[in-house]
């Protein structure tokens, strides 16, 4: 059972309080955009997800905590969380993720 650092509570909390919520940084198109999208483009948004081996940006929900959704970078091979951050922050770049990893490794 992981300890997950909630970026709102600012503390490590047991995984059992959280729920996974899928891939992060997939923006729902606004109504005008939706109308302009072909079925193929809409299906891409609706159904197609990355299946990353390595660092993955994903959403978590602190359901039995502060009730906030937030994002995380997690390594899908080691399962380890690299960093959690609030919704609204941009998708971290590869170099940013590397910096976080370096910081975590001391």
């Amino acid at each position: 059972m992981f300890l997950i650092h909630c970026p709102h509570c600012q503390e490590d909390r047991p995984e059992i309080e959280f729920a996974y919520a899928g891939e992060a940084h997939i923006v729902r198109p606004g109504p005008e955009q939706q109308d302009a999208m072909s079925d193929a483009e809409w299906s891409e948004f609706m159904f197609i997800r990355d299946n990353v081996r390595g660092e993955h940006c994903e959403r978590w929900w602190h359901a039995n905590g502060c009730n906030m959704f937030f994002n995380a970078v997690r390594n899908t091979v080691s399962d380890k969380f690299i960093k959690t951050y609030k919704i609204g922050h941009k998708r971290p770049s590869a170099s940013q993720i590397q910096k976080w990893k370096d910081a975590a490794n001391g």
């Binding site: 059972m1 992981f2 300890l3 047991p14 995984e15 729920a19 919520a21 729902r28 198109p29 606004g30 109504p31 939706q34 109308d35 999208m37 079925d39 809409w42 299906s43 609706m46 959403r59 929900w61 359901a63 009730n67 906030m68 959704f69 080691s78 399962d79 919704i87 609204g88």
Partner: protein, 987 residues
């Protein structure tokens, strides 16, 4: 006292005899004995029969690594535990132990014919033999395998014991209380931190319990151990847990500890937990699990009396038991010599030490010679003699070809040592192959965790103590005088002059896997150790190959001509040692196994004899049978009474979410398909919610209490997911909206009143609300009081009758229900359950999300296009509804079905076809989703999802059933009762 017991020797209490029975015969042991040590003290080595060949077996080890000596313990009704290791089982007065896997008795076992015919049971035997014909599986193969391949029998009665569980936290968790773990605990105790030290044994000490003779800091090791235990006991910040196995190591230093509380206690107290699971989160984990001695793989190595040298050493030093009176030893490692010397020094005759190595250190040889022990180097054991206990060995010198028989009544063996990597591997720490000692060692840690002492390949007491101190931040350098741990040589195979087909050298004792099986697997093409393991079952027994994995790897890699690391190592998985289901469940059994949510009115329903059904994790009243009534009769009566006069129904489980804020209507517009901006305050509207993929997700009635406040209801099972769905969109897609969500499901008890007399019933109890139809029309909500408590009163109907849903604060729910029920007697008020609710709504064609829809049904498919706004720019699911697949012809549509025979109630889930005589597989059009007897119509009704259903009105379809019955039914609109809705308007 047994004839093999050495008076005054060991850590057992020689003044306290303990009587127990084994296979019905009474034996005497001492306080502190295990079943194995006590039986050996009485000269009993034959403890069980092997798994496949039913060969006689005795204890190989002395603790939890034991592969052979599995026994069953019975202690009264329901208390029966099979497959316990006799070597780790403490005896108590009156304990009943039986051997297993033998029939009719241990000394004469019918199944042993497998041994005679063992040539027919090679590796993969089961895979190869029990393949066809298919019909043989049920009647022949499965019963055969079950009978022959049994471990102990599974208990057949419910377990009367209770179990406990808890979460726990510490800063340092130390697993294993040998010298390394003890030194770590002492060092850790000196800092301001919470320290937990666990050990699976009954007492602390680890290898110090079995190997005596060293001095630590000037004290004999026993005295040092006693002092250390006392120091740890005194340290306020240290918790010591014995009889506690660390069974699994999970992410972020989460370690499961299973503590055995009563298995060693002669008399059980009622209510006392048998075992306790500690779900421990540690800041840092120090693994000091030690190492396990490796058997040697030679012909006849499984005869009772053949055991690990360290085990024999522990039997003498810890339990005061000589494993024989005239022992021999077969070794490839120096450490076995110290074991033999300890036995020799206890006046046990040593017939010979056979050493497979060519050379031996001079000082060891000298020590042996000084004791008069015959050491034969560069020799092996080619066979062993004896039936139920070893009687002799044949010593073979391959260089000279000479053979010599040596008589003995026990044989010590040592093939070197295997560091215990189990928990380290659970934690996903990496391992590396050490070519010099031919073992895997811990490499990179994946958690804040370290391996120390023998499990890190660091042998010897001094090394272990210093490593322990250092691991816990100490700097102590221990002064130790000890025998040199020495070195050894690893052999994949020992030479023998006997043809291989006539030998049986066991690698995995518990699963009866021999060296030949492993070689056969390699010949048959298995190249990875993971595959060899599954084909031969090596390491797949209850001991998970603690004594066999590395021997198997050595043999397989040699047969493949590859280095061991290229062949791999099988994966260690939790639990480290067999664990009871009771411990895994802890307190979570029976009514605590899963939450059962009950409404405030539930006790009333129970007192009325209601039959309940689970809905999600709620339990709901299903129907209220009167004496003599079956479900059909009860539901028919409830339906009729409701339509004729008045029914009362507990709808408290409906999910409720309060949507509040200036942007509440905007948010509702996004979440539901229909528009909300123009809904007036005090009005209600039915809402339909889709997922982004356009399929129906939930529905419910929503009341607007103020411009900025909506009272949203959801389905009973849907409440949590709807709340999550709403929070998700609000927080992540529409954070600019000023609106907040609060779950109020349990704030309100909901009493639904349906029937022509509903208004008349509540009128006298309501304050502050004008109930007249003009000021309180259908689909309206008002706030006021009922029975003196606050209410949100909805005029809504899920039955087609005049209906009210009385919402009152939950803790008043039962009171209001009882008050209304009493007053309703003059209207013959009838309580009804979920079944009647379903019938009444089906008569009106109202859908149940999740029953009439299945996650692939659009509003149009459900005949509900009317509720999808064409004007709104956006709502969840809008764009998906335009996808070509979702507007295509020929989708399944929700329609009504009326059977030809009005008395036939179709089965829900039954498939529907056009022609029942077409060949199988038939073209299935869809299935029945809802089906009931309608008392109001005097016939059956059904709803179904049918391909192109809207274009099949009046068509006749068939519902074929098992047994050749074909029901005929006509497609109709799913509206069976009062299609104009006139009954809502009763005055």
């Amino acid at each position: 006292m047994g004839e093999y017991r050495k008076s005054g020797k060991g850590r057992v209490d020689h003044s306290e005899a303990v009587r127990f029975s084994f296979d019905g015969k009474s034996y005497e042991g001492l306080r502190g004995d295990t079943v194995a040590s006590a039986l050996m003290a009485n000269g009993v080595h034959l403890l069980g029969r092997s798994f496949k060949y039913h060969r006689p077996r005795g204890a190989v080890g002395v603790g939890f690594e034991e592969p052979n000596a599995l026994v069953t313990v019975r202690r009264g009704k329901g208390r029966m535990t099979p497959n316990l290791r006799a070597t780790a089982l403490e005896i108590y007065n009156g304990m009943e132990v039986t051997s297993q896997n033998r029939w009719p008795n241990l000394n004469f076992d019918i199944g042993a014919f497998n041994n005679t015919f063992s040539a027919f049971f090679p590796a993969g035997f089961y895979n190869k033999t029990f393949m066809w014909p298919k019909s043989f599986w049920d009647k022949v193969y499965e019963p055969f395998i079950r009978n022959m391949a049994g471990l102990g029998p599974a208990p057949t009665e419910p377990d009367p014991d209770v179990y406990a569980s808890t979460y726990a936290h510490c800063d340092v968790l130390i697993v294993g209380a040998g010298p390394a773990g003890l030194a770590a605990a002492i060092a850790a105790s000196k800092k301001d931190q919470r320290v937990v030290l666990v050990d699976e044994n009954t007492e602390l000490g680890g290898s110090l319990l079995g190997a005596t003779g060293a001095t630590i800091d000037g004290k004999p090791s026993e005295a040092w151990l006693a002092k250390t235990i006392k120091d740890l006991d005194k340290a306020q910040n240290v918790t010591v847990m014995t009889r506690t196995s660390a069974i699994g190591f999970y992410h972020d230093n989460f370690v499961a500890l299973s503590e055995r509380l009563t298995d060693h206690v002669p008399s059980l107290k009622p209510g006392q937990s048998r075992e306790k699971l500690h779900r421990m989160r540690a800041g840092r984990v120090i693994l000091a699990q030690g190492a396990i001695e490796r058997p040697l793989v030679f012909n006849g190595n499984d005869r009772p009396g053949v055991m690990l040298a360290s085990a024999a050493q522990t039997y003498i030093n810890r339990y005061g038991v000589g494993v024989g009176k005239n022992i021999a030893c077969f070794t490839a490692h120096d450490s076995a010599y110290q074991a033999v010397f300890d036995l020799a020094d206890s006046n046990i005759r040593v017939a010979a030490i056979v050493d497979a190595r060519k050379e031996l250190a001079a000082d060891i040889l000298a020590q042996a010679q000084s004791r008069g022990i015959d050491v034969i180097t560069n020799a092996v054991i080619s066979k062993t003699g004896g039936k139920n206990r070893i009687k002799s060995i044949e010593v073979y010198s391959p260089d000279t070809g000479t053979k010599r028989q040596v008589n003995c009544d026990a044989l010590l063996m040592s093939g070197g040592w295997t560091p215990s990597l189990h928990l380290w591997s659970h934690s996903k720490g990496s391992i590396k192959w050490d070519a010099a000692t031919k073992v895997y060692l811990p490499d990179q840690a994946n958690e804040n965790c370290v391996c120390i002492g023998a499990c890190n390949g660091d042998f010897g007491i001094k090394t272990a103590l210093n490593a322990g101190s250092k691991a816990a931040g100490g700097r102590k350098s221990y002064k130790v005088e000890e025998a040199d741990f020495g070195q050894g040589q690893i052999f994949d195979q020992l030479p023998n002059y006997i043809a291989p087909q006539k030998t049986k050298a066991f690698v995995d004792f518990q699963n009866d896997v021999t060296d030949k099986d492993i070689k056969l697997a390699v010949r048959e093409g298995f190249k990875s150790i993971e595959h060899v393991k599954r084909y031969t079952t090596n390491g797949m027994a209850t001991d998970q190959g603690k004594t066999s994995n590395l021997n198997a790897l050595e043999i397989a890699s040699k047969a493949l001509g590859k280095d061991a690391p290229q062949v791999g190592l099988t994966t260690f998985r939790p639990p480290y040692t067999p664990t009871t289901f009771g411990a895994i469940c802890g307190y979570r059994t029976d009514d605590l196994f899963e939450v059962t949510r009950k409404t405030p009115i539930d006790p009333w329903a129970e007192s009325q004899g209601a039959v309940f059904e689970p809905v999600g994790i709620w339990r709901r009243a299903w129907y209220f049978p009167k004496p003599g009534e079956d479900m059909h009769a009860a539901v028919a009566r409830e339906c009729k009474a409701t339509r004729d006069s008045l029914g009362i129904f507990d709808a408290s489980t409906l999910g409720k979410i309060e949507v509040v804020g200036p942007d509440a209507a905007k948010f509702m517009n996004i979440m539901y398909t229909n528009p909300w901006s123009k809904l007036g305050v005090g009005a209600c509207r039915y809402g339909l919610m889709l997922r982004e993929d356009g399929y129906i997700y939930d529905d419910g009635v929503v009341g607007r209490l103020a411009e900025d406040r909506f009272h949203v209801t959801t389905t009973t099972g849907g409440a949590p997911r709807v709340y999550r769905h709403m929070e998700d969109y609000l927080q992540t897609e529409f954070p600019e909206l000023e609106v907040w969500l609060t779950s109020t499901t349990e704030q309100w008890s909901v009493i639904a009143l349906n029937g022509p007399n509903a208004r008349k019933l509540i009128e006298p109890f309501v304050e502050g609300i004008d109930l007249s139809p003009e000021s309180f029309p259908h689909m309206a909500v008002r706030e006021g009081k009922i029975c003196g408590v606050p209410t949100r009163l909805f005029r809504v109907s899920f039955s087609g009758e005049l209906g009210f849903e009385v919402n009152v604060p939950a803790h008043f729910g039962k009171y209001v229900w009882e008050t209304l029920f009493e007053a309703g007697q003059k209207y013959d008020i009838t309580p009804y359950g979920t079944e009647t609710m379903h019938v009444l709504r089906a008569e009106k064609g109202f859908i149940i999300v999740g029953q009439d829809t299945d996650g692939t049904v659009t509003p149009h498919d459900a005949g509900m296009s009317w509720i999808v706004s064409k004007k709104k720019k956006d709502f969840v699911g809008k764009r998906s509804l335009q996808r070509s697949d979702l507007v295509a012809e020929g989708r399944k549509h929700l329609i009504g079905l009326l059977t030809d025979d009005p008395n036939v109630v179709l089965e829900e889930g039954a498939q529907i076809v056009t022609d029942p005589n077409q060949p199988i597989p038939m073209d299935m059009l869809g299935h029945v989703t809802s089906s009931y007897w309608s008392e109001a119509l005097g016939r059956s009704i059904a709803m179904a999802l049918v391909r192109d259903g809207f274009n099949r009105m009046d068509e006749e379809l068939y519902i074929p059933m098992p047994g050749g019955v074909n029901h005929k039914a006509k497609v109709v609109k799913p509206m069976f009762y009062d299609p104009k809705g006139e009954r809502l308007n009763v005055l």
